[in-house]
């Protein structure tokens, strides 16, 4: 009786492991939206002017990406270790952009590790 169940348990485990594996393989996504100053965007809700966002970013506040379609805020990182995203995002403040990258979610917070960014015409 128990011996007959073992292959089923093994099969179930393999299937679960495969599913976990698949969900961990991140796919790159393309998002369209704008670059925001995360702190002021969340705390005041107001979209700041281009110059203000630039100033804030240069002072060390993190820049984020706001997906205007899904109305979702992402923290932004770059895949390279010990490199910050702010420098890469600075030229795109104030314009509609697309970002390509892998999205990660932990404790309800979304992060995109961008591999590419550019001006969006969408």
């Amino acid at each position: 009786m128990y011996a007959a169940r073992i292959p089923l348990v093994v099969l179930f485990t393999v299937l679960v492991m495969n599913n976990v594996g698949l969900s961990q393989q991140k796919k790159e996504v393309t998002l369209h939206g704008e670059i925001v100053d995360v702190i002021s965007f969340v705390s005041s809700g107001a979209a700041k002017g281009t110059e203000e966002v630039r100033k804030s970013a240069l002072s060390g506040n993190p820049l984020g990406f706001y997906d205007t379609g899904k109305k979702k805020l992402y923290l932004v990182g770059v895949p390279e270790m010990n490199k910050a995203a702010n420098e890469r995002l600075l030229p795109y403040i104030g314009i509609r952009v697309f970002v390509i990258g892998k999205v990660y979610t932990r404790n309800g917070v979304d992060l995109i590790l961008i591999s590419d960014i550019g001006k969006s015409i969408k």
Binding site: I39, G77, N82, R106, V109, L111
Partner: protein
């Protein structure tokens, strides 16, 4: 015949009352009445919706719901490198967080009891929080500040930080 009928009616009504029939009738209120009794003067948007008599379920607007008047709170937890924590789940050793913060990656705060991540800012405009947080990397800390929430992201504007003994 008439007296029998009266007796049956009286018995059935007594049975109905003893089974809590009157309680049920008290509980069933018209929906509008319930909505009006739950209104508070602090929610003018929803109140105006009730007055106008809309039948849609009353739901506060996103901004009202997420960023109500912030209160100062004290949180206990630890500082993390946001990018590596969210992408890999690694809490990182203090030296790695310090290195990452120095190149400009944001330091976040992980509330260990609520299991919640906060992006940390300072109330002063255009001042990054990393420098102020760096001495506390690797130790359990408390943060005092106002918390804000929007689009699923929590921010705390810290007014004080220190070593936690909790």
């Amino acid at each position: 015949m008439g007296s029998k009928l009266m007796a049956v009616v009286t018995t059935s009504s007594l049975l109905f009352l003893s089974c809590g029939g009157d309680r049920k009738s008290e509980e069933i209120k018209p929906p509008q009445l319930v909505a009006e009794t739950t209104k508070t003067p602090e929610s003018p948007d929803t109140l105006s919706e009730t007055i106008s008599g809309s039948e849609k379920p009353i739901e506060p607007k996103e901004d009202v719901k997420e960023s109500a008047v912030p209160k100062e709170v004290t949180l206990h937890g630890e500082l993390v490198d946001l990018v590596s924590y969210i992408s890999s789940g690694a809490m990182n050793d203090p030296e790695a967080i310090r290195k990452s913060a120095k190149v400009g990656n944001p330091i976040g705060f992980f509330d260990t009891s609520a299991k919640k991540i906060y992006i940390v800012g300072l109330p002063q405009i255009n001042t990054g929080a990393n420098e102020r947080l760096l001495p506390y990397v690797g130790i359990r800390v408390f943060l005092i500040g106002k918390t804000y929430r929007k689009s699923g992201v929590d921010v705390i504007l810290v007014s004080d930080i220190g070593k936690s003994i909790k």
